[in-house]
Symmetry: C2
């Protein structure tokens, strides 16, 4: 190295599960390459685990500790990599690391989507950095691109598929015709879904990621609670097969958009035309679109979170810290805007709706009349007999959400309607995004 | 701003064509936003043009100069944005700017693919930076991602569609059945091809970009002359229609790959299965795949070079310079590896071949025998009568390029063969990349 002083990154690693042990081996395998390309020497000095008596592969036993003070008070350790997840105790750990001027790398989307603004500001005050590429879309460097390449892009929307579990389930349902419960069981068996999959299937995981993306894209504080979300629990194999007959796929989308200077961020399942680039993102893959006034449309895609991909993103963040000593703009929330939110009620969308109704004369007329009363205009209807019931599959012209919901509420109360109406948005038809 | 010292970026802009004037207006339109998010004030102080007597829109006349010394000797100007292209005089301009410790942003792929190593080293020595996001794939931030996010990814291949003009032409031929010449004329009419389109259609433009990408991905010097390239001039509408009948698309690919620690970088048209993600990249769009030992496969895609996209990439580079005062690893070519090249002859590929032959008995047998002699194994054959001639369309199992070429040379000399054999590689079948 021609640099006089070789920079030393000494890491305290919090957590040693799949990602933690991948980070450990990646840093060791790539140490020479990282030193060669960054001029810095990187080593993991201590690893926090709950129980140090458990013998662990790969890493020498003396690295492990169950006492966080042992790590955060070590003056040699200048970088904390937090991989334990959740709010408690991760929030306290990260806060105290930043307080002491240490850099932080984390994959913790829950924490960032709830306490991000506080942590950014703390990093700024202490002249240090917090990086979190691994919190969204695994090894796809969407955070870095948003933070550093898109300043002049004047972004107007960020949207895509940011949860691999639900995309795997929907892909399976579409590929095999499987029911939701069977596809979920399959995803669990393959390791693509947790034994408790609630975070993923409810859309909460995607909502946390969209809060983070929206905050960075629009330089304004968006928190988890600001993101309305609908999960995929209500998607039936009938919806998937109707979608196919309409030449569409069902995907769980995260959408963050500016409407004039107001923000709307949401997560919901949507029907997408088969030729939409997101329709072909299958299995556990993720894909994010960036659109702005100075860029037409950029897509980043790749595998969602896997152990090695997430680890690779974490190591990329460590390298970015080496490259940049001072806090960046992200940490300076005083430079953020305070944009208002655009109400969900005012968003104009196309909808698809499948309804079970009594198979008797006049039902369609009654329903159509209610939609008409609220100014909701039908684009197409299929009616199909299924024994005593009939199934109505309707697609509507773009309509304000509030009007559509009012019509639906009234229709849900009709005695002829036998199922809870669960509309699905139709996207990518040109009028939106 | 909470920063005590506001950083001032004072720019000398070289060239005021489509991209130059877009950079000028983008910086002016976004000045407040850029200042807010970077804490730096950015202004364009002087603009170099050939003839200052021509009145120009947007920019005040007093900014223009036809004397480069006027810019490079201005002590206030700390950043040169070079948008004139070509080697002469851009090379001298950039060299003298770096000599004086000024940062450089350029979109000049020809220059970088021929003099990049020298310029990187010069920047390093002078403690400054050279950035060139706009030289490859427009607003898609592939250079930044390669330079900064992929250090731990242990990349093994970088490949994709990096020339919008040829992709537009091939898309048109496929969509409308147009002949090559008509599709080219159409691309020229739409502004997607230059009046002299040689650089693009010969594959040279893509080769320059691949040399840059390969250099950064593998940290080794790859220059334009190291990249063998085949253009699209030989692609006939018959090839396109046969491709369709094989459920494939024809794309001009740039491929940079490591074979154990040896590099192979090439540009060639290829047949891709319709479900390959690159097959659906259409029109003037670009897409780049990154693959490594620690990342499965990441794709970045978006519009190729347009005035506003290229300008957005240039401004992104300026912002990156603000964020990072010192030269990065890229500039330190002493940290680069010196990888050997893997010979084209040894690359194993599948091939497609269309041949016009005399429609007489025994021709197929003669040809098949020659392929057999060189160990080239046929996967499928279609023979079709076309008047006095017959057309043979053959697809081969993966074979070493040298063996295939030897067989082809012998076949080209047969009196029964009426057309120059122009094989096209078949990619994405699982055995490659």
């Amino acid at each position: 190295m021609s640099d006089p002083g070789v920079k030393k990154i000494s890491i305290g690693l919090l957590g040693y599960g799949t990602v933690g042990s991948s980070v450990y081996s990646l840093i060791n395998d790539q140490a020479v390459e990282i030193a060669r390309t960054t001029g810095a020497s990187i080593n993991i000095k201590k690893i926090l685990v709950r129980d140090i008596s458990v013998p662990r592969q790969d890493a020498p036993q003396e690295l492990f500790t169950d006492d966080y003070e042992d790590i955060v008070d070590d003056p040699e350790i200048n970088t904390i990599v937090e991989l334990i997840g959740g709010i408690v105790p991760a929030f306290d750990y990260i806060s105290s690391a930043l307080e002491k001027g240490k850099s932080v790398v984390t994959a913790n989307k829950q924490l960032l989507s709830q306490k991000g603004v506080y942590l950014f500001q703390l990093a700024r005050e202490k002249g240090t950095q917090i990086r979190f590429e691994a919190s969204v879309a695994g090894a796809i460097p969407v955070i870095k691109v948003l933070r550093e390449s898109m300043v002049a892009a004047d972004l107007t929307s960020v949207y895509g598929i940011v949860n691999g579990t639900t995309n795997f389930i929907l892909t399976e349902m579409s590929r095999t015709g499987a029911k939701y419960q069977d596809a979920l069981a399959n995803a669990q068996e393959w390791g693509y879904a947790e034994s408790d999959p609630t975070e993923d299937i409810s859309g909460k995981d995607a909502a946390a990621k969209m809060a983070i993306l929206a905050s960075i894209a629009f330089h304004t504080a968006v928190e988890l609670d600001d993101v309305a979300c609908i999960g995929i629990e209500g998607i039936s194999s009938l919806d998937i097969s109707y979608a196919r007959s309409l030449d569409m796929s069902v995907k769980l989308l995260g959408v963050a958009k500016l409407y004039d200077d107001r923000i709307n961020v949401r997560v919901y399942p949507a029907l997408l035309k088969k030729d939409h680039p997101l329709a072909s993102v299958s299995g556990a893959y993720n894909a994010v679109f960036l659109k702005g006034n100075s860029i037409d449309e950029i897509m980043l895609s790749g595998p969602g979170a896997g152990g090695i991909e997430t680890a690779s993103a974490v190591v990329g963040d460590i390298v970015s810290i080496v490259a940049r000593d001072k806090p960046g703009v992200l940490e300076d929330i005083s430079a953020w805007r305070e944009l208002e939110f655009y109400p969900d009620d005012d968003v104009v969308s196309k909808f698809y709706l499948r309804l079970e109704v009594n198979d008797e004369p006049g039902v369609l007329a009654t329903i159509a009349q209610i939609f008409g009363k609220y100014g909701v205009s039908v684009e197409s209807v299929i009616q199909q007999g299924r024994g005593a019931h009939a199934e109505l599959v309707m697609v509507f012209h773009p309509v304000k959400e509030a009007s559509f919901r009012k019509a639906l509420d009234q229709i849900a109360g009709l005695p002829e309607v036998k199922s809870q109406p669960r509309p699905i948005r139709v996207e990518g038809d040109g009028y939106d995004q």
